[in-house]
Amino acid sequence: MEIAFYLSGLVAVLATLGVITNTNPVHALLYLIVSLIAVALVFFALGAPFAGALEVIVYAGAIMVLFVFVVMMLNLGREGVDQERAWLRPQVWLGPAVLSAVLLVTLIATLWSGDGGRMIAGEMLTAKAVGTLLFGPWLVVVELAAMLLLAALVTASHVGRLPGPTSPKGRRDAGARKEVS
């Protein structure tokens, strides 16, 4: 199990280096996903399967959605196809693929040797334990997080708002301001 922990940790570090050294955002995202999956594996090795599963679902999943949005916002067409072809050069996918393969081999080897239910140290942190902790002593923090998300949502929706049809005066003024500046 120790080997699985250290290998996943190494993969996480390498993949994160790939994220910050890549100039193309899409390539960086690929590395980021590998890094997040590696961190999830580290969590599994540490005996926190719930945190590991959340890492895969929320982070890797949410990042995938972001990735899809990036692709959606690009102008698809002939250039899009060319772009896709350019992305599929081996030097782009080789790095993340090798790192993912290392993770996969680690996972299979761990399962094969019957190490599945074990971890490095400490006790298993199940979803139930996390839940009782969160809604017991950490209740205040959970509620604060809720308020935080509300504030962030309102901020984003306000700043991202286009001058709507409800305020024709505002739109005219904004236009006038644009002309002046």
């Binding site: 209740l139 604060l144 308020m147 509300l150 504030a151 309102v154 901020t155 001058p163 305020s167």
Partner: protein, 487 residues
Amino acid sequence: MTLTATHLLALAPPILVCATAILVMLAIAWRRHHTGIAIVTVVGLNLALLSLIGVWRMAPLAAPMLAIDGLAIFAAVLILVAALACATLAHAYLAHHDGPREEFYLLLLCATAGGMVLSASTHMATLFFGLELLSIPLYGMLAYVYGERRSLEAGVKYLVLSAAATAFLLFGMALLYAETGRLDFAGLAARLGGDLGAWGLAGAALMLMGLSFKLSVVPFHMWTPDVYQGGPGPAATFLATASKVAVFVVLLRLVMAAPAFQDGRLHDVLAVLAILSMLVGNLLAVTQSNLKRLLGYSSIAHFGYLLTALVIGDGLSIEASGVYLVTYLLATLGAFGVVTLVSSTPVASSDGGGDAARLHHYRGLFWRRPYLTAVLTIALLSMAGIPLTAGFIGKFYIIALGVEAERWWLVGAVILGSAIGLYYYLRVMVTLFLAEAGMQRHDAPENWANQAGGVVVLGAAALVIVLGIYPDPMITWVRHIGILTGG
């Protein structure tokens, strides 16, 4: 420790503020009404302020991850007063804003709750969430008038830099956790003991860096003038008052509770930061021609003075910083309140938009708006620390503390800083009284004194004078806080 009914009662003020925020959100969804929303906000904040009287009887009390003690209640009072002032000023300021106006109050309430939680936190988790709940609504408040380039710039600048500072803070927490395995301040202090390893020192220093950014202490001050200048008046007021008070109180708590922050080397760093802030803040303020930028630099200097109390850190330092925070809050509310009121009328775009903050807008203000000018003059005099204003009492405390601890470098820097400060405060005051024809572009609405915003600035000015002449109630109150906190 689980949450009990007693804890919930003691946490009533932040809960009331959050509930008001949710009520405001639902009201916005149902029907937009600017004045109505503002009234709901003010009523909610006042209820929270009233509930503090009940909480005062229960203190000191340790809720999970939060301490309801004298310091927390003191900070909550200051934050709520600042939020009330910002809400009333916002009502005047946003009256001429095209587009949605009601969300500002929602963000203001969220930030207020965040500040109250932050100042009461005794755990890294509540510290972090409190700080973020304070900062994230502020991005929205600063960029609220996003049609103006400067406002948007202020919001984005604060967002990016503040996120970087938060990353430092989180990394520092992670290092301290790796060293001790604890996240609550008391446990952290017990585990660290007197000896601080290399990792512990690095963690404490990174945390100090993150918090210094929020206090805009030199050399983490670069964002301050731009954000103050660009942000809408009420948002800048909130940033300069409530946000800084909350962060300073949590820093005070950290320094008192955790020996990580009583390490000799860190104290030297704090002393250097304090001296730098006083000198650089005051020197840079001298050349400013924009009142909001000038107030921004002056707030950097004020937090240099306040850090002096933190560095000395003996028995009287809580009392000194408490008194100084009260005087700073009142003077800043007065000064920013006047700027906001003067900017409340629509601004000609030929002037680059934004608020009326250039010094030439204020030229001869006395001949048009004598009372408003009087308020600004009193606020500036108090910031300069002239006797008969509250600012004098605060500065007196700081210098007395420094002299008693025989920290002559710090005392010298305070005195030098105040001398430079006097120069530029007086320069602004001279501008106010210069008579000149044909400079009437920016003006407060005629009936400003009858409206809530006018009452707020007049009240702040009156308190500055009253507490300057008769500071006894304030000192007794602040001393009581020190006893309740046990520091």
